[in-house]
Symmetry: C2
Subunit: 151 residues, 2 copies
DNA sequence: CTAAAACCTCTAGTTAACTAGAGGTCAAGA
DNA sequence: TCTTGACCTCTAGTTAACTAGAGGTTTTAG
């Protein structure tokens, strides 16, 4: 329950974990990566301003989009510290990520079309096969990481 | 150069590596995962039938499609041993993979549309935001905390 | 005041798909 | 025959995004 008293209180890790649905250890981890930060109390325990909740929400959404944490961290750096992302911030970030998504969709579509063109050909020849020799790099990364690597 | 003499000769790892563009260590690795197999000569060195080249080609293409090695291994098991994949085999596998690709493209497209719908909203609310609460599963593998649970 | 719950740091393990290197063996050309 | 290069096995390291647990401290409820 939010009352005038606790409205401005800071949150413990456990509370942030419960409210954001992220594990405590994951919050430690995000902190170690610089995605969020905390103040410490007398006994060295983390205390978070409530803005952290929106930050974590942003992180989780970006992850759904398949953005790696490192990039999310970069994006978050563009926001001033000690402030939760606002609607305006979100607009900028989401527009960027939407473009990334478009790009990935295009790559996959291209690849699928090429594959369909190759069904039945069975050549897989090093010199001739468009599937083997396409020059483009497929940077496909989605939730559930893969390690596709350009040879 | 292929002559009647060496047409039937087996290949060494180094030769397979050179011709397939895959590192020797990667071939060892594929073998350890059961994706390819080798005969051994007197001195315990690997000797490959030339069919292995087509198998490796198949593996590389599947990887471009974003299929994990484990699944590629499953697919390869459907081919008889000691035989390179034929055009007919390829047709079956590629049709399957094409469907997988379609599915992934659909998921990404859905997500992008939802994101575009959310640009400017900035809510990211646990209860209301479609981006946060979308019921679909986007390869959410790994026992990660998610936010399905309530506060 | 005390016991339990929550917190702290740090190390190590997980999956995927490999690579790098150590330490030793084998094969081929001069 | 010798030397060089290719090969062998095995262990450990890499990235990403965490989780699990050990061993110890702090906070909180009764």
């Amino acid at each position: 329950m939010i009352t005038p008293e606790n409205l401005h209180k800071e949150l413990t890790v456990g509370q942030v974990a419960a409210r954001s649905g992220v594990a405590v250890t994951a919050l430690h981890f995000y902190e170690s990566k610089g995605l969020i930060k905390s103040n410490r109390n007398q006994g060295n325990q983390r205390r978070y301003p409530r803005e952290v909740l929106r930050r974590v929400a942003l992180i989780k959404v970006a992850q759904r989009l398949g953005i790696p944490l490192a990039e999310i961290g970069e994006a978050l750096k563009s926001l001033p510290d000690n402030r939760a992302p606002t609607a305006a911030d979100w607009k900028i970030l989401s527009a960027q990520w939407s473009r990334d998504l478009d790009e990935r969709i295009n790559q996959l579509t291209l690849l699928r079309d090429r594959l369909n063109g190759c069904i039945g050909c069975g050549c897989l020849s090093m010199e001739a096969c468009p599937l083997r020799n396409a020059g483009d790099v497929l940077g496909e990364r989605g939730p559930g990481a893969h390690w596709l690597e350009p040879t």
